[in-house]
Symmetry: C2
Subunit: 267 residues, 2 copies
């Protein structure tokens, strides 16, 4: 084993971190240029994969139906069960999408990142939103009424293809998550979730790659089908091994390859 610790939790950290040289960094999300006060302008959406392949005129057409939508931290763009009347594109900020079951237990479906579509219930023929989307930080989105959708894809068929791809990517993610839930131990799932967050929302800092929005133990628990207690113990153990730096609603990855080794370990 090579390392002796009294820490009750942390079987995989111990296993994986023994006799392995420390290693810095590895994850670095592309830095995103900060918009000042956003005005509705073609350039706002030109980079979104959802609108890839549309020319300037098409973008203007698309934009002409859009309404800006400010979402102060904590506010919901929509709530589970509400009639789905709009769909959205996130311009700036970060949203937390959650879903409740009949017994009131909640999971965190995903975080919405800038340039992501969300609330596309009409793409799946659902009359209501299947989840709740609320701002994890002050955010800004564009909203389209569902009624605009049919005309938009009729005039710009590329849109249907792009949306299909976006749904396909999310389907892939979901199936991967099912696989992880079915075959991995909690500690591995937490490692995977943290790495994904660092990739999607990591900003380089002195100590490593810091996750760019408030993230609680409860959030991580709801992402990994675990409990806030187990997440807390796991992060404490990782911190003791120098893999992460954990604070109140904040998390910095110091050793991404180390976390990856945990995620990849044999169960």
């Amino acid at each position: 084993m090579g390392v002796s610790t009294r820490s009750r939790r942390a079987p995989l950290v111990q296993q994986v971190c023994s006799d392995r040289p420390l290693h810095k960094g590895g994850i670095c999300a592309p830095t995103r240029k900060e918009d000042g006060l956003p005005q509705i302008d073609r350039s706002l959406i030109a980079d979104a994969p959802a609108f890839a392949g549309l020319d300037a005129a098409a973008l203007d057409d698309v934009l002409s139906h859009a309404l800006p939508c400010r979402l102060p931290k904590g506010e919901a763009a929509f709530r589970q069960g509400e009639p789905a009347e709009k769909f959205f594109l996130l311009l700036h900020g970060r949203l937390r999408v959650t879903r409740l079951n009949a017994q009131g237990q909640q999971i965190l479906v995903r975080f919405v990142n800038p340039d992501d579509l969300f609330g596309v219930a009409m793409a799946i023929q659902s009359p209501v939103y299947p989840g709740t989307a609320e701002a994890a930080v002050d955010s800004l989105a564009l909203a389209w009424p569902n009624s605009a959708w049919a005309g938009m894809i009729a005039r710009h068929p590329t849109l249907a293809v792009n949306t299909m791809r976006a749904l396909g990517a999310r389907l892939q993610d979901s199936q991967q998550r099912i696989l992880d839930l079915s075959t991995q131990k909690v500690e591995q799932r937490i490692a995977g979730a943290v790495l994904r967050l660092a990739r999607q929302a990591g900003r380089p800092s002195e100590a490593g790659v810091k996750i760019d929005f408030p993230l609680s133990r409860q959030d991580l628990a709801e992402m990994t089908a675990s409990t806030l207690y187990t997440v807390s113990r796991t992060l404490s153990a990782w911190e003791a091994f120098g893999l992460v730096e954990a604070g109140r609603q904040s998390l910095t990855v110091r050793d991404a390859p180390g976390l990856q080794a945990i995620a990849d370990a044999e169960g």
Copy 2:
């Protein structure tokens, strides 16, 4: 509690089945007319949701690029990791789609039913198949080369919309499954899986609704992130309560509302 049993397993059956009147039936999949020897003909695919809204000429155009594909029981249409060169529509039979993780553990992603598209890797921009599809019974499918896709959706934009809906529905299913895996106990998940199978592939029989293809304990375990041992114990307990009739690779639902009550119970 009302009922006393020595059975070690079956907390929920006991709870749920005590003092509840027995109830018959409830699930009944539409019976599907048996095709004799299928020939490639417009009527074969006219009912598939994937081709809804296409007129006769469009259907003929679509069919002109399709190749029939016989899949004897046990044979794979494609295997995980193979380059994705075709996509398929199941005409007849039943396929089991599985997915392996890096450590070789397997889950059962879904069963493909007649009129379902499968192997649509190109819709999600994946160069390889993310899973393996093999025939659970002798099956028959149509196959299109991926190269035909672009032209098909260009000529028939409805196809992109239909495919988007199909992906959306599968995304919905996946997210529901994630919710179930995250919040339900094993017994509830097994109940949910059995009910879904009965709905999709149930055929009415004397004793109730019989699942129409060979289904092992291992299959159910891989669908519910459980083990064949736990599934076996669970089915035994249910059988003792008259909820199901379980045999070698066969399962008949005798009391669907009873199973539903288990699936809906508070954890």
